[in-house]
């Protein structure tokens, strides 16, 4: 091939290279959420109730403890799993049973989830139960929400549900 033709082909090759790099490094666009949708993030860390009762130690048991460790009671450390369920407009949105973290099962239970929902009016119901032995013990939330497009709504918990 003659020199000029070669140079033209090289320029073509480099143009293809530039086009390829430029195009794929920013396109095609990816749609993460639709413009009229909003995001709900459930993010909760909560420790379940301790399972079991504390027990009074006998006198001899206390005697056997080392002097700096003397306590009158022995308490279990294991915590109950935490159950969380969230309904939106009477449809179940999220339900999870989070076990306590840690090898001794004495740590916190955590929840994280993300949902895209249509914006507009919604009715949200949430229940958190942190004592498996006592189903009656529950925290509840029932609320009308007016959600605008692209809003990020966080459902958190601290002594009760918090909506941010």
């Amino acid at each position: 091939m003659n020199k000029v033709r070669l140079i033209i082909y090289q320029i073509l090759a480099y143009t293809f290279f530039m086009g390829f790099i430029a195009y794929l490094s920013s396109s095609p666009e990816w749609v993460h959420t639709l413009p009229d949708e909003a995001t709900i993030k459930v993010s909760i860390r909560h420790s379940g109730k301790i399972v079991g009762e504390c027990r009074d130690l006998t006198v001899t048991e206390i005697k056997n403890l080392s002097p700096n460790m003397k306590v009158p009671q022995e308490c279990p450390r294991e915590r109950s799993p935490v159950l969380l369920s969230i309904e939106m407009d009477d449809k179940l949105l999220y339900e999870s049973n989070a076990r306590p973290s840690g090898l001794q099962k004495d740590g916190v239970s955590t929840f994280y989830a993300r949902f895209d929902i249509p914006s507009g009016n919604h009715f949200i119901k949430a229940v958190l139960r942190d004592d498996a032995n006592n189903p009656k013990r529950a925290y509840r939330l029932e609320k009308h929400l007016e959600i605008i497009p692209r809003q990020v709504l966080v459902i958190d918990f601290k002594d009760g549900f918090i909506i941010k």
Partner: protein, 523 residues
């Protein structure tokens, strides 16, 4: 039954070969980008590292000001900072393209087994580090894209049972995001590339004379292209991140951020599965492919004088020199069987391989059990005896990875195939001319810059051109030898060059003013 890997490689070759041939035509073999994918990867890395340093000077490591500091470069300093930023992004993209093609090419060409396993397996962490480096970089811009990948990468990490507290909690909303985390990310964006660089040097440890710089022509070409691209189409940030507002559309870098849509489509568990599966598949690929280990080089101490020529030429540093077993004050070559790939380049280097020695049986200092030098000599004599006719007689030496030579055999042309032409001692050519076994000798092999054994064709040519030991000795050999690096696809070109060569020998005679003919398949 053949392993499916063999078929995949075959199909790969069918796709790759025509493209490579086209690029050789356009760029010549010496500057064919497909022959320089590893060195190009290095080159793109250096561009990204250099421009990254510049960006770092102006970068503000805080949630509030990171975005602005990059916008400043792009808008107020477009002529330098803006170009640096674009170069940084585009060279990184070019790097992953080069690395991916490099990986695929080494696989398709069957260059990932034996000693090469070291390079192959050490390439896998490089892939991870490369992607981690790039993803970290996108994060720092703190625009909508960064917000998107922050949320999804934390969800990906949270799938692993390592942390009690979900990492995603850091990106719940604007309030949750901290500067401390941001500094950590900026730190990682230096740490990962440094680890990558270290890994890149480990990657080429087992290779002697590893090239890390592409040929000048290519270096100038690709860097000009990247600068031009940065001017025409500067890399831009997307709208600033705001964790209180959800991300809708993002312009994605599909080179590096391709896992993120997958996380959305499949969920993090399957994506981890895919990432691990692909990595493991690459690592075990050498074991899944059939591999015939070639016999390794063997040293014969009585015939080794300790010149170190083989040591200097071994493409995988498989040879070391030690005190000679019995020749006082001499050295002796030792082959490390784990590193030897069985190419025979050492046998071609050894001065004891010369057929002019007055010995009953030609035993050389370092030799290949599958084709010892004495058998190569017998084969040469036998093939030469068969040459007949009035046309100039030519012995054609080729290699198994280059253009097949059998199909070119005629009455006046005989082909001799070696594992690698680097195994051909130059003294053989002297021997052929001195004893008038043929009128001409043509040597062919892999394309320039693309020797299957890395250095066979380069060393052979340097030996013939008296730039490397051992040299050609006789005038006849120096003048009449023809070297055509035609490559496995260059059959037709080789046939044409052979015809030409026979013609010149016919017209000019082989005594006087012939030249050292050299060529490739580039026409």
């Amino acid at each position: 039954m053949k392993s499916p890997v063999v078929y995949v490689r075959k199909v790969g070759k069918m796709l790759l070969n025509p493209i490579e041939l086209l690029f050789s035509k356009i760029f010549t073999d010496q500057a064919n980008p497909f022959f320089h994918l590893g060195t190009l990867s290095f080159f793109f890395f250096w561009i990204a590292a250099g421009t990254g340093l510049y960006l770092y000077v102006f970068f503000e490591t805080s949630v509030a000001h990171a975005y602005e500091s990059i916008e400043y470069l792009v808008n107020e300093q477009w002529y330098l900072g803006g170009i640096m930023r674009s170069l940084h992004r585009y060279s990184s993209a070019a790097m992953v393209v080069a690395v991916t093609l490099h990986l695929l090419r080494e696989f398709v060409k069957g260059r990932y087994q034996g000693v090469r396993i070291f390079s192959w397996v050490s390439g896998v962490p490089l892939l991870w580090l490369l992607f981690l480096s790039a993803i970290g970089g996108y994060w720092l811009v703190w625009d909508q894209l960064a917000q998107y990948i922050a949320i999804l990468s934390s969800e990906l990490l949270d799938w692993l049972p390592i942390m009690v507290d979900p990492m995603a909690r850091n990106f719940l909303n604007a309030e949750a995001m901290s500067d401390r985390l941001f500094s950590l990310l900026a730190f990682l964006h230096i740490g990962f590339p440094l680890a990558l660089l270290l890994g890149m040097f480990v990657h080429i440890q087992r290779i002697s004379y590893a090239k890390t710089n592409p040929p000048k022509q290519l270096a100038i070409g690709v860097s000009s292209a990247l600068v031009l691209l940065s001017l025409i189409n500067p890399a831009m940030s997307q709208a600033p991140a705001n964790l209180d507002v959800s991300v809708t559309n993002v312009g994605l870098d599909w080179f590096y951020l391709n896992v993120f849509p997958l996380i959305e489509l499949w969920g993090p568990g399957w994506v981890w599965g895919l990432l691990v599966a692909v990595s493991v598949l690459i690592v075990i690929l050498p074991c899944l492919s059939p591999h015939q280990r070639k016999p390794i080089a063997v040293v014969d101490p009585p015939n080794c004088n300790g010149c170190s020529w083989c040591f200097a030429d071994c493409p995988y540093s498989a040879i070391t020199m030690k005190e000679h077993d019995f020749k006082k004050g001499h050295k002796q070559a030792v082959v490390n069987p784990d590193l030897c790939i069985g190419c025979g380049i050492c046998a071609g280097a050894c001065p004891s391989s010369t057929p002019f020695r007055s010995v009953d049986e030609l035993i050389t200092g370092i030799d290949m059990p599958d084709l010892p030098v004495k058998d190569l000599l017998k084969l040469t004599d036998k093939k030469a005896k068969k040459l007949k006719g009035d046309k100039p007689k030519v012995l054609l030496f080729g290699c198994r990875s280059g253009a097949p030579t059998e199909s070119l055999e005629q009455d006046n042309v005989a082909g001799i195939l070696l594992p690698c032409v680097g195994q051909l001692p130059p003294s053989f050519v002297d021997y052929i001319f001195r004893n008038k076994l043929a009128d001409g000798v043509m040597v062919t092999g892999c394309c320039e810059e693309d020797c299957y054994y890395r250095l066979g064709n380069t060393w052979l040519e340097q030996r013939f051109a008296a730039q490397r030991f051992p040299h050609l000795r006789t005038t006849g050999a120096k003048r009449n030898i023809a070297v055509i690096w035609a490559g496995e696809q260059g059959n037709k070109q080789l046939a044409a060059k052979l015809d030409d060569y026979v013609h010149t020998l016919e017209n000019e005679g082989h005594e006087d003013d012939l030249r050292f003919v050299k060529g490739g398949r580039d026409e």
